[in-house]
């Protein structure tokens, strides 16, 4: 689906990303983790053509990303960020309808199919009941689901998420990942998400990329690569990893140096 071959990005000596290679297959559910400034957002910007790599090549469905027009790309790949501030008071349904832009001609009006798609993604993200409310009146958790709905309205094959749950409480965070898991399972949607919540990422993602100072440190399943040593070296935290009693996924127990009781 997406292949990166020896991709580097940066200015002169200071590379933000250096020599990144991976192959993300269709239907994958991948996570990118790494400390602040490790290049996670830069990698997503490269993959979504906001910026172009200085070295290396990125391919989408075996075609170089360079060859895609922005509109064509938006019909295959959608993006959800951590927050979008709208400068005007749009209705939720208007916002989700914007997701149909990659499939709509300039002069064309929206078709019945556009509205069908909008309704179906509103239902999938459980935002159908807010469709007639203003986007800025929603809570952060509701708004992120609307943005996810807009991304789904693009009918993408792959969806990139840059800290989609950064401003959400745990309940909403889990909710977003549960929706993603369902989409991944039912619609074979390929997912690549950046998050700082290591426990959640380990719980939901099947493959992780660990970035450290612009370099790819590890790629593999959470159970394989999440180790006490890795967390100490990359994230500079003391911890112990033990399986989550509910899901058996690796869970991180923090040792913060506070005295035990």
């Amino acid at each position: 689906m997406i292949t990166a071959k020896n991709v580097s990005f940066g200015y002169e000596e200071a590379f933000h990303l250096q020599d990144i290679s991976f192959q993300l297959e269709r239907g994958g559910f991948w996570g990118i983790i790494g400390p602040n400034g490790s290049g996670k957002s830069t990698l997503l910007k490269l993959l979504s053509k906001i910026i172009a790599p200085q070295q290396g090549i990125i391919e989408l469905e075996d075609r170089p990303l360079k060859q895609f027009g922005l509109k064509e790309l938006a019909g295959k790949m959608a993006f959800v960020g951590s927050e979008a501030q709208f400068s005007f008071p749009y209705l939720v349904s208007d916002v989700v309808l914007m997701g149909r832009l990659p499939h709509t001609g300039r002069i064309q009006s929206h078709t019945d199919r556009d509205f069908d798609v909008v309704n179906s993604v509103l239902k999938k993200t459980e935002t159908y009941e807010f469709r007639d409310r203003y986007i800025h009146e929603l809570s952060s958790g509701e708004r992120q689901r609307v943005l996810l709905a807009r991304a789904l309205a693009q009918e993408p094959q792959i969806i990139l998420l840059d800290e989609p749950t950064a401003h959400l409480d745990l309940h909403y965070e889990i909710e977003i990942f549960q929706i993603l898991k369902l989409l991944n399972k039912q619609d074979q949607l390929t997912i690549l998400a950046v998050s700082h919540n290591l426990n959640l990422i380990a719980e939901f993602c099947r493959t992780l990329i660990v970035l450290d100072r612009g370099k790819c440190r590890e790629i593999g399943s959470p159970a394989e690569i999440l180790t006490d040593a890795l967390l100490r070296e990359v994230f500079r935290i003391e911890s112990r990893i033990s399986p989550n009693p509910f899901s058996k996924a690796p869970a991180i127990l923090l040792n913060t140096g506070s005295p035990g009781s």
Binding site: I50, L70, K71, F88, P89, Y90, D94, L101
Partner: protein, 315 residues
């Protein structure tokens, strides 16, 4: 019938009604074919063209800069266009072409300049935008005054250029040229309206929706310069139409830009024809430049919006 169409039709009826009233009302009472056809009709038509152009340009600027306080007058585009028009006049190339080329060109360059000054890292904060606009507007107004002082022209009054007026409507064909240029500007704006919707969540957000943001910005800055330039060339810089009208229309028909732009085009025409009717009849026989009236309405409106905006943004 959708709410949008219904409200648009109401605006169209208001426009037609005001225009007919403007043809009828005036110092010379009763039916006077010469006055109605050769004096009032061109003036009403010019009002329609200029009002449409300024309100549409305002809606486009607000969308492009993601800033509800943008307007051709506040950003200094109108002053720059006025300066261009004046240069063309003084150079004595008083052919319509040069007039339009100079006023549209100056509008385009000035709005790009203001945009460059006010934008850092893809963001255009309200404060820097207004400051850059004030500087540009003051600068070009100073140039206009300078040219007036150096090249005294009996046929033009400073007031006309600085405050804007529809009183020089004169012969029909420059109005026709302005109308055609404005029509092109409005059409481009309508065609690119959905890009503005996509850009309302930020420029990167719009790229993710497949919008070629840089190209859209260039095209829309150009189309709005067509609108501003072709209107100031004939009417000077009339203030605040581009601020007030898109705002009211956003309340009436919502923020989606295709409807907003079409609505603003009609609403702006109605507003300016009405203001001009007031400007020429309220203190009759003395006639006030219409820009005085629009600024008297617009400035308090601007303050109101600014105060409301302050609550959302940290200054």
């Amino acid at each position: 019938m959708s709410t949008f169409i219904r409200r648009l039709l109401i605006l169209v009826f208001l426009l037609i009604g005001t225009s007919l009233a403007s043809l009828w009302i005036g110092e010379i009472k009763g039916w006077n074919t010469a006055v109605i056809l050769h004096i009032r009709l061109p003036r009403v038509l010019l009002g329609i063209v200029v009002g449409t152009a300024l309100a549409t340009a305002g809606a486009v600027y607000q969308g492009l800069l993601r800033n509800p306080l943008a307007d051709p007058y506040i950003l200094g585009t109108s002053s720059a266009g006025t300066f261009g028009a004046l240069v063309a006049t003084i150079l004595n190339y008083y052919f319509a072409y040069t007039l339009y080329i100079f006023s549209i060109g100056a509008s385009f360059l000035s709005v790009l300049l203001v945009y460059r000054i006010a934008t850092t890292r893809g963001r255009t904060p309200i404060q820097t935008l207004i400051l850059a606009g004030v500087v540009s507007s003051t600068f070009f107004s100073a140039l206009v005054l300078l040219l007036f002082t150096l090249f005294r022209r009996e046929s033009f009054s400073v007031l006309f250029f600085m405050l804007g007026s529809l009183s020089t409507a004169g012969s029909g064909w420059p109005i026709l040229v302005s109308a055609l240029l404005s029509l092109i500007g409005v059409l481009i704006a309508v065609i690119y309206a959905r890009d503005l919707d996509a850009m309302s969540g930020g420029e990167e957000d719009a790229i993710h929706l497949g919008i070629n943001v840089e190209r859209t910005k260039q095209i829309l800055f150009f189309s709005s310069s067509l609108l501003v330039g072709s209107s100031v060339a004939l009417a000077g810089s009339i203030g605040f139409v581009g601020l007030i009208i898109p705002h009211i229309l956003r309340l009436l028909i919502g923020p989606s830009h295709r409807q907003l732009i079409i609505g603003s085009a009609v609403g702006g025409a109605f507003f300016l024809v009405l203001m001009d009717l007031l400007a020429r009849t309220l203190f009759s026989p003395v006639e006030v430049p219409v820009g005085v009236f629009t600024s008297l309405c617009g400035a308090p409106f601007f303050i109101f919006l600014l105060k409301r905006k302050q609550k959302e943004l940290v200054f």
